[in-house]
């Protein structure tokens, strides 16, 4: 008889055992993931204050670990908002720490990244992490931390307070990690280049273990509007989130609860929903209790037959809902058609100008067109697609389009073929646009959303959702049309150039041959003729 032992594990423990899902699959992937998570935290920290980020990353060799792996020290410095000292231990020493009740577009939305890196480093090298940070106040706080994996608690090994004479603001994280830099190198460099592309206002510096310096300078100091925090949209909630909201809400009736915890829900919408879902009833003095479709909402709840103002039954207390009622509530939230679509104020797209600046800075194309689509939603989550198509210049011919994928301003480097953009690009009828994959073309797709529809926790590719697919396809069509115009115009110019070169090549020969044949000494002057061809052609254009 087999025996099974059950034991509770902490979040840290869970991720330690399942580090694959967070991207720490193997030694080369781990080192890439660690750098990426910390750089993204740093970018978010700077952007939240609308400060152009200055990020310095250094990976230094510490010693051999095994035949294929080495020990490295990773140091990431930023000029971001800094972390208040009381939050520092948890921010880096406790997995899944953070508020989940408010939504806005962030790079790292799992609350996992930075901690996962520290956790992985600790597991492999058993060394503490050092975190130094200041919010720009008079003091700098420095912690030496480890994670108590079984309890998911930070262990503070040392804590120092320094005087912040120079009003430094930012965060420095340093820890040791085991990995395989040699194999990770090209991905890491791709990552920096593409991050520079989609964050054109950031200065990125990377010093690798061999001491090589990679510097990506900003091309602009303009920054996109930072995202505003929003409440979750009713279409996007699940039972778990509802329960948590009910748990923390100070409000004692459903009307206030709906208005205060959900995105774009006002007085009327809250009342409508409650009648719709049967949480409350509306009755008319003449006609009694009314069905939802018999109510005229244009001036508050009125009877559609006599215009009488209706009385609503008392609002329920959310805290007193049973589990079944909560499940029902969630189902009604999804069914109700009259919630306003989420607005995009919680999103922070790059904008066409910045996207252009980034692509020009990193790809130096001959021609570039970018397009930002209007906000759209999927399952209650707003999203915006930004797309650029770049032609020629430094872009190489590869026999297929070069695709750069970004989500919330982070590059996606793995699993390209599974991504919705890849599929849309390959399903496109390019011949219609007189474009072919053997042209030097790069396509840049950026999706921003409060909840990017990743297919995996590793955050590597965007799921093929119809709403997303449609937006990507429309954006692609728009830019492709413009590329087609550019190409046909250029072809016209080329044709004219070739035309001119034909005349310039042959007319002198005709002059030469006829001079010999006619037995003349001096060749006739044909410059006028060649010029006349040119003049005629410019007029034609």
């Amino acid at each position: 008889m087999a025996q099974a032992t059950f034991q509770e594990i902490s979040a840290s423990d869970f991720f330690y055992r399942n580090r694959d899902i967070a991207g720490f699959t193997n030694p080369s992937r781990a080192i890439f993931a660690a750098i990426r998570e910390l750089v993204e935290n740093s970018l978010d920290a700077a952007e939240s204050l609308k400060i152009p980020p200055d990020i310095y990353v250094r990976l230094s060799f510490e010693g051999e670990a095994s035949r294929d792996t080495q020990i490295y020290k990773l140091r990431v410095e930023d000029n971001g908002c800094g972390i208040q000292p009381r939050f520092i231990p948890s921010a880096f020493g406790q997995v899944l720490y953070g508020s989940k009740y408010k939504l806005k577009q962030m790079r790292g939305t799992f609350g996992l990244g930075g901690k996962m890196a520290v956790l992985y480093g600790q597991i492999m090298t058993h060394q503490p992490a050092y975190v130094t940070s200041s919010t720009g106040s008079a003091k700098i706080y420095s912690f030496k931390l480890m994670i108590d994996i079984q309890r998911n608690r930070p262990l503070i090994l040392d804590r120092k307070v320094l005087i912040n004479k120079e009003q430094w603001r930012g965060t420095i994280v340093e820890f040791t990690i085991e990995g395989d830099y040699l194999r990770a190198r090209s991905k890491i460099l791709d990552y920096f280049k593409q991050t520079a592309m989609v964050n054109p206002y950031a200065n990125l510096t990377f010093v690798d273990p061999k001491g090589r310096l990679y510097k990506f300078n900003r091309g602009t100091i303009n920054m996109p509007e930072p995202p505003k925090e929003t409440d979750p949209h009713p279409y996007g909630v699940d039972v778990e989130l509802l329960q948590r909201l009910i748990h923390i809400t100070p409000h004692k009736n459903m009307q206030e609860f709906l208005k205060n915890h959900f995105h774009r829900v006002g007085d009327i919408t809250a009342q409508k929903f409650q009648v719709f879902s049967g949480l409350t009833t509306a009755s008319c003095k003449k006609h009694g209790k009314l069905a939802y479709q018999d109510i005229n909402w244009s001036r508050g709840p009125n009877c559609s037959r006599c215009g009488e103002v209706l009385t609503l039954s008392a609002y329920k207390n959310p805290k007193k809902l049973s589990h079944q009622e909560i499940v029902k509530l969630m189902q009604h939230l999804k069914k109700f058609k009259e919630f306003l679509p989420p607005d995009a104020s919680c999103l922070s797209p790059l904008g066409e100008e910045l996207l252009k600046a980034g692509i020009i800075k990193e790809l130096n194309p001959e021609y570039l067109v970018v397009k930002q689509r209007k906000p759209s939603t999927y399952a209650g989550h707003p999203f915006i697609i930004e797309l650029g198509i770049a032609y020629g210049g430094d872009i190489p011919k590869k026999g297929s389009f070069i695709i750069y994928r970004f989500a919330n301003k982070i590059p996606l480097l793995y699993d390209e073929a599974s991504d919705v953009s890849y599929r849309v690009i390959n399903a496109m009828n390019w011949r219609r646009y007189k474009v072919s994959p053997d042209m030097p073309i790069a396509i840049v797709v950026h999706i921003c959303s409060t909840k990017v529809p990743y297919k995996t926790v590793g955050k590597e590719f965007i799921a093929d959702r119809p709403e997303v697919r449609k937006e990507v396809a429309n954006a692609l069509r728009e830019v492709s049309r413009q590329l087609q115009h550019f190409l046909s115009k250029r072809e016209h110019v080329d044709r004219e150039k070739r035309r001119l070169s034909v005349f310039a090549k042959y007319l002198p020969r005709i002059a030469e041959f006829s001079t010999t044949l006619a037995g003349k000494e001096k060749q006739p002057d044909i410059q006028k003729l060649i010029k006349s061809v040119q003049k005629y052609d410019t007029e034609k254009k």
Partner: protein, 369 residues
């Protein structure tokens, strides 16, 4: 026997040719010099512009003409190639060097004038022929030679190194190749009073062996199948300059018949050229009626032969002398064909001793009437 002699024809012709090339060059030069895009106008060679002229009994080009303009992007390259070809021909003619079509194709590369392929360069040479009305042989561009001549005709060379030297064309029993040196020579003297053109090499050799040139006082020409242009030109010169009749002997089939016709009336491909036809030449055999009269061993006509006969029946060149239609009908009736060698069933010398005199006599009688 009278001694006939023609001199100065070749020298005069050479001047004319160089004149026409220079004229073309001057025309282009003057247009360029006065600041306009040069153009060359020439008759169109498209099939709907090729007509048969019953008066001169050959195909001619009609009224329609085409203009090549250096202003036109599609014309400027062929225009340049034409100007080059004219200049190159002028050099050949001036230095009295000869060349072949293949050679032209490669020579162009020395002038940094490339042709896409042999066909393109051949077309340009034909353009030059059309524009000047001269055949390429006049510009010293010759195809590979294979036809020959034999008989008592003394020629005087004009080619460099041989000027003034003479040769009697009966001096070599295989015959003398009709090449550039021969076609460009003057006719010094002859005792012959007729030309006999023969389709096949075997019979040509037989005639020489059997002294046909002496017995019938003739110059023998081997056409070796369809006569090359320079051979047609050479036959015409024999006829025109020596004022002697030309008789043609071919196989007794539609193809042989047409070999004779091309010598007499020319081809549509050369409609832009003159002086290649000998309208007074006579087809002497082998006729379809000869097959019947001489009871020659025969082969049946196959489908291609029949088809060809129907084509020839409609061909304008075959509408003049009723002989042609009569023979075509006989061919179609008997549905048989015979080669010249078929006479060998009566012994090796029968064709020379019996058939030839009979046919020559027959024609002379006919002419006198």
């Amino acid at each position: 026997m009278t001694q006939k002699r023609s001199k100065g024809v070749i020298a005069e012709k050479k001047n004319e040719i160089m004149g026409s090339l220079k004229k073309l060059g001057t025309q282009i030069y003057d247009q360029l010099d006065s600041g306009v895009f040069p153009t060359i106008t020439m008759p169109s060679r498209s099939t709907d512009n090729i007509h048969y002229d019953p008066d001169i009994r050959q195909y001619v080009l009609g009224e329609r003409s085409v203009t090549r303009s250096a202003r036109n992007i599609r014309h400027v390259k062929p225009f340049t190639q034409l100007a080059w070809a004219a200049m190159f021909s002028n050099e050949l003619t001036f230095h009295r060097k000869t060349s072949t079509l293949r050679d032209v194709y490669y020579s162009a590369q020395a002038y940094n004038m490339t042709f896409k392929d042999q066909q393109e360069s051949n077309n340009i040479i034909t353009d030059l022929e059309t524009a000047t009305g001269r055949s390429r042989e006049d510009f010293n561009i010759f195809p590979e030679e294979r036809s020959a001549v034999f008989g008592d005709l003394t020629i005087e060379y004009t080619v460099p190194g041989y000027e003034g030297k003479t040769l009697n064309l009966s001096s070599h029993p295989d015959g003398v190749l009709i090449g550039p040196a021969l076609t460009s020579s003057e006719f010094a003297s002859t005792t012959a009073d007729k030309v006999i053109a023969i389709e096949k090499g075997g019979l040509f050799t037989r005639f020489i062996e059997e002294n046909v040139h002496k017995k019938h006082n003739s110059i023998l020409v081997l056409t070796a199948g369809q006569a090359p242009r320079q051979t047609r030109y050479f036959i015409r010169r024999l006829h025109d300059e020596l004022k002697i009749p030309v008789y043609i002997f071919t196989d007794g089939d539609p193809w042989g018949m047409h070999i004779a016709m091309v010598i007499i009336s020319g081809s549509a491909n050369a409609a832009h050229l003159r002086d290649l036809t000998t309208p007074d030449a006579i087809w002497s055999g082998v006729w379809a009626s000869d097959i019947v009269n001489y009871k020659l061993p025969t082969d049946p006509l196959d489908d291609v032969d029949i088809k060809r006969l129907h084509e020839l029946q409609r061909d304008p060149r075959y509408q003049g002398d009723p002989l042609w239609q009569k023979e075509i009908k006989t061919f179609l009736k008997i549905r048989r064909k015979a080669e010249q060698e078929a006479f060998s069933r009566y012994g090796l010398t029968y064709i020379v001793d019996e058939y030839l005199p009979a046919k020559l006599d027959d024609k002379n009688k006919g002419k006198k009437k």
